[in-house]
């Protein structure tokens, strides 16, 4: 299964970045093989508006089935929902920890955004 995880760096030992739209990197990880691709999200970090929407589109285009992050705003959530990408929020620690959580079936899927929209 392909999982998208927001990170502060480009390795599986990087800290999870709690922000979704404005995280510096989004790692697309294959949970079976642990092969991954680190997407550079820097063009979104300074986006005027709609960083979450853009990041959600990117995650969906990469074929991720689940997004793991700290906070997910309403516009990003709506976009992910439309794309059929499930959201696991409130994630902390390292990318590796998040992968462990989902492989052990301990992840709880969010039913709504857990953050207000940014203005």
């Amino acid at each position: 299964m392909k999982v998208a995880i927001t990170a502060k760096g480009t390795s599986l030992d990087s800290e999870i970045d709690p922000r979704f739209g404005r995280a510096p990197y989004i790692l697309i990880v294959d949970t079976d093989t642990l092969e991954f691709e680190a997407l550079d999200n820097s063009s979104n970090v300074n986006a005027f508006k709609g960083a979450g929407i853009q990041a959600a589109t990117m995650v969906s285009d990469k074929g991720a089935e689940v997004l793991m992050t700290g906070y997910c705003g309403p516009n990003a959530f709506v976009t992910l929902e439309a794309a059929g990408v499930k959201v696991v929020d409130d994630i902390t620690g390292k990318v590796r920890d998040a992968i462990k959580t989902i492989k052990e079936g301990k992840a709880t899927y969010a039913t709504a955004a857990n953050k207000e929209a940014d203005w």
């Binding site: 986006a47 005027f48 508006k49 709609g50 960083a51 929407i53 853009q54 959600a56 589109t57 969906s60 285009d61 516009n75 709506v78 976009t79 439309a82 794309a83 059929g84 203005w119």
Partner: protein
Amino acid sequence: MIISVASGKGGTGKTTISVNIALALGEGVELLDCDVEEPNAHLFLKPKIERNEKVEVPIPLVDLNKCTFCKKCSDICRFNALAIVGEKVLVFQELCHSCGGCMAVCPEGAITETGRELGFLNFGARDGIGFINGRLRVGEAMSPPLIKQVRAASNSELITIIDAPPGTSCPVIAAMNGADFILMVTEPTPFGLHDLKLAVEAVRLLGIPCGLVVNRADIGDHKVFDYAESENLPVLLTIPFDRRIAEAYSRGKNIVEEFPEWRERFMELFRKIEAIVNERGGVAHA
């Protein structure tokens, strides 16, 4: 002639100055309240509101029967108001700045425009003084297009006084752009000076002549006056921190009506502005 009354810092007296200039000049003047997020000039001018008009902005409407999900529309949108995921098109109305770019680039002609309500305009008058304000829909964040509509509804034959919103961002620029003169209302406090400097920098970029009214001029310190001198900004009027003025204000009364000697001072303020504008080659507007 268009005079835009701005400040940087809020609560310095923009509305007080705007309303009193309008009342001092009387007939042939029009007051536009462009502080659409919190309009209050009507509380002091007390115009009779004659009609109102709904204001909408265009947003895209996508015909899914024609759409091929090519993403050209979402690629051109700087504000990410459109998202294509799989065979779904999402439109985030509140992010759309109504540029029409998506409609222009769509190769299938799948995008047309529909309206989104921003707020409304009120039209009224009092004693020959025309009045228009804009009122932004509660929850709406996009005030510049509504401010532009307030200004577009103005009568260019009249002397137009604009009560601008505070700050230095897009709404203020929308209320100052194209004016013949910017009257900055400030107070001699560190906050007043800090925000005045930012606002003056914005006015300099617009290339519009500018002068100051210093309100509550006998509080604080002398730094606003020193700044004005160093920047070559004329101080056109000073208003003291006078309990009688504050009391009148708290009852919704206006300075020129309560204290007749101030009528002439506000007319003199206008004549000084007029002289500066004429010196610069006259008004850009009738």
